[in-house]
């Protein structure tokens, strides 16, 4: 299309016109794709390593809470390892003592914060559970029971959103 111009210009000085159209096409597609996956809120949840969350059609946004992560080997509370899964499953008691102890401490802290100032949220009984998709209900039941016993009754099961 710009053959003529290029030729005439070429004769005068040695510049050449770049074919920008394919580049623009590519950029437009890229831009649309990236805009689609753009989220203004950012990520407030970080997922523990070697954890494969189950997929779900749920669309509730995550909130900032303490996190109990359950991988196939460890139970972690806010990133700190609490207990080995095998040990928990071998035990006859449904309550997990180590987790219970840590949660009690956590609750005391958040209650203390709530008492100090009215602007702070304090203890609300929310806890996020990030479970690997391969864990069994037996383990989940024990964790839920332990959380519920301490007063963390609103459980937010973290899942991957399926589109």
């Amino acid at each position: 299309m710009i053959d003529i111009k290029r030729k005439s210009r070429h004769a005068k000085k040695s510049t050449f016109a770049l074919k920008l159209t394919p580049l623009i096409d590519m950029m437009t597609i890229l831009l649309v794709f990236l805009l689609k996956s753009y989220s203004a809120e950012g990520q407030i949840v970080t997922v523990t390593q070697d954890l494969r969350l189950p997929e779900s059609t749920a669309d509730t946004r995550p909130r900032v809470t303490s996190v109990v992560a359950v991988t196939s080997e460890w139970i972690l509370l806010d990133g700190r390892p609490i207990s080995r899964v095998r040990r928990v499953l071998d035990s006859d008691r449904l309550l997990i003592p180590e987790l219970s102890q840590e949660l009690t401490r956590l609750r005391a802290i958040s209650q203390g914060i709530g008492d100090m100032s009215n602007q702070m949220a304090g203890f609300q009984g929310n806890i996020a559970i990030q479970g690997d998709r391969e864990i069994t209900f037996d383990l989940l039941k024990r964790i839920m029971l332990t959380c519920g016993r301490i007063g963390y009754n609103n459980m937010l099961l973290t899942v991957l959103q399926r589109n």
Partner: protein, 155 residues
């Protein structure tokens, strides 16, 4: 080739072609694309809310009061299939099909509850000990789709 070239030249000579200056657009794109690339999040994380009946007075005050349940529906999840129970309705046990659990059968049975009790929104799921977490989440998804958003878990 020569003929074509000459006709093209002639045509263009008449039309007086205007050339677009795309450099500015390219500049905008070059800025926008890296910016969006950094901020893009490809994994979207959501949460499923689950409220346990409270043992504790303080968090009970915070939790929203549950509406009175009209009917009690129970779904047992076993390794061998589903078993749905609802008052005054008889359901056959749903076994395992070639592709795993019988989701279509479950949707059909839930639909029957929905037609008999349109107001009913509560369901209790009771999985066996060795049911995978993934399966439980899938069941909860199906239940929500079928119109039972108030899901409780019983062990």
């Amino acid at each position: 080739m020569n003929i074509k070239e000459s006709t093209r030249r002639k045509l263009r000579g008449h039309a007086g072609e205007a050339e677009l200056n795309l450099t500015a657009v390219m500049n905008v794109f070059l800025i926008l694309v890296p910016f969006l690339l950094i901020t893009a999040s490809f994994v979207h994380i959501a949460v499923l809310e689950l409220t346990l009946p409270s043992l504790d007075r303080q968090s009970a005050a915070v939790a929203p009061p549950k509406p009175e349940s009209v009917v009690l529906n129970v779904l047992l999840i076993r390794q061998t299939g589903f078993e749905l129970k609802s008052p005054d309705l008889k359901f056959s046990n749903l076994g395992i099909t070639g592709q795993g659990y019988d989701w279509q059968g479950l949707a059909g049975q839930l639909n029957r509850i929905k037609t008999k009790y349109p107001d009913s929104e509560d369901i209790i799921i009771s999985p066996e000990d060795d049911i995978k977490y993934d399966t439980i989440i899938k069941v909860m998804d199906r239940l929500r789709e079928a119109g039972f958003p108030n899901i409780s878990i019983s062990g």
